[in-house]
Amino acid sequence: MPHTLALIALLPLVGFLLNGFFATALGGHRANERVAAIVGCAFPIAAFALTIKAFLDLQAGGFTPIVEPLYRWALIGSSSFEIAFYFDRLSAIMTLVVTGVGSVIHIYSTGYMHHDKSFGRFFAYLNLFLFFMLLLVLGRSMLVLFVGWEGVGLASYLLIGFWFDDLTNAKAGRKAFITNRIGDAGFLLGMFLLYRAFGTLDMDTINGAFLTGSGAAMIVPASLVGLLLFVGATGKSAQIPLYVWLPDAMAGPTPVSALIHAATMVTAGVYLTARMSGIYMMAPEASQVIAVVGVLTAFFAATVALVQTDIKKVLAYSTVSQLGFMFLALGVGAYGVAIFHVVTHAFFKACLFLGAGSVIHALGGEQDIRKMGGLRTKIPLTFWTFAVATAAIAGIPGLAGFFSKDEILWYAFASAKGGAPWLWGMAALTALMTAFYMFRLLWLTFMGASRMSQEVEHHVHESPISMTGVLMLLALLSAGGGYIAIPHFLEAQIPLPPIVESLAHYEQTLLIVSIVLAFAGLGLAVFMFGGPASRPESIKQALLPVHRLLSGKYFIDELYDRVIVKPVAWFSEVVLLRGSDTLLLDGSLNGLASLAQRSAGLLSRAQTGSLHLYALLVMVGIVGALLWSWRHV
């Protein structure tokens, strides 16, 4: 097939259009739920199948990138903006993850969204998201990537605010979109800079130019470009300082949180950085910044996750934290490792979110873990899959998260491209916290005695097979996903950074340390939450100010509101609208007009309306003129 890649991207679009027209209020709900589900799932699955075919083609071609031009968007002067798709090892991995995880989440959603009044609309949006996400990972030019980049933002906006009857959901969607837009502004600037230097936005060309150090690449400083693109990545991938939207994004339906806000969209920033690794290899300063931001985000988000009580909020902060790990890997030059973590994270985090969805589904909408407990026996399938994924993210040896996280820690320590012991230290501490808060979540939700109300407890039921089947599949992947040697697979395309010679012999030690940390987290959580309830309470009381700070999420939202949102509104309202527009511009103009009116009013007094007076005045005038001419002629 000549247009395999285009077809991969366009299939979900067809699904979107079909469901959008025929299964929503737009078409008067003509299609029933079953048809909408079939349409919604068939196209992503077909895209997944095609992706496998494309991957086999790629393999058959000895992994030479497949370029598939589609059409020319614009030709301006000598620079041409081509819409073309590009398929190499990196985009192959991403496309497989996106279509694969995407497909199973679609299947899960048929169960989860069952009986929702906007069932068709949900699938339309999900398909739309997949379309844009595939544009993002398959695009050859940054332009196509940007189309996907903004498009997934749109889909995310629509899906976060999916239940828009509640204004807080819609507000969360808006916050996500606007925060992403701030990042996009940086992305745009970076893109312009690259266009200025190269006259093209094709990423393979740009990478190549930077790597060979050809003439044009010298015009723009790689670090500046790298930082600007990273601003975009912080927006999409929820890094400091633009992470604030992701926890709020949990307002969306849970499959959305799994697909968009854990497995795929939020890793777009990681993908972008890895894709543009040619630039970052030439930009040590930018890489340094990325590593520091990454490790700080990881640490910071993990501390907040320690005390959250909403099951999805814990997972959301955990996602932010894990994304921080990925950026740490990117910052120290281990691009392949970051992508590795993207993949394993997609598996276990999707499993966790979907498991949480299954819990919420079982409990009829309850999300507060303080009101759960003892669910292990009631929903065993959910419990076991959730436990596997928890162990995977915590870094229990043998599971997927262990491999990828351990490699990140190792490169953070020993990479010759910016690795440092303190980066490792922070990351290791974060790993400990990760293990702790994840097991805390597991314990509070599934173990111990039930804290549910009678009524809720009565209704608890295991989810349908469409949901549990997906959970089991993802649990399997979370367990075994670490054995896919992605860094090795990618090494042919993006080499791993060299290791500092003098540190090379620490590898075994660090491995043992991280295993110990994972189990320490597990033990700590079991100690605190496996025992009587007074134990965590007493610790909380002892550290009350810290607890308040953490459960208030460091009050960053409030800070942004005070420092940015309110001042902008105040400036617009008071200074610009009332001050400049109304008072200065309109005021001076209206003042001028009323001045003219008033002076005209004075003159108009002479118009008495009495014809006799006018005639008299005319006569006086004539006589006066005559007299004057008499005297002067």
Partner: protein
């Protein structure tokens, strides 16, 4: 005093009489008639000068004034009629809508 002076005096008197009428009378129709009087005063002076100088220009001018005056009356009378219908009065003092 010769004929010319007398005629000029007459024309001046007609004009002044007309002007006085315009100024003091309040009836719109009378005022129009007074205006005609003024015009005729001017006409008289025009023909007088024309006669004195033996020049036809003044006489021609008089015909022009006639035409204009006819047209003016033809327009003014309907206007007055409309005004009267509107205000039910000939009193010019009541037509002060343009008062500033």
């Amino acid at each position: 005093m010769d004929k010319v002076h007398l005629l000029l005096l007459l024309s001046g008197a007609l004009f002044s009489l007309g002007l006085l009428g315009v100024i003091v009378r309040r009836n719109a129709l009378v005022m129009l008639m007074c205006m005609e009087l003024m015009l005729n005063g001017v006409n008289l002076s025009l023909v007088t000068f024309s006669q004195q100088r033996g020049d036809a220009a003044g006489a021609v001018l008089v015909f022009l004034v006639f035409v204009v005056a006819t047209v003016e009356i033809a327009l003014a009378i309907p206007i007055v009629l409309l005004l009267v219908r509107f205000k039910r009065s000939m009193d010019i003092d009541r037509y002060s809508d343009l008062k500033g």
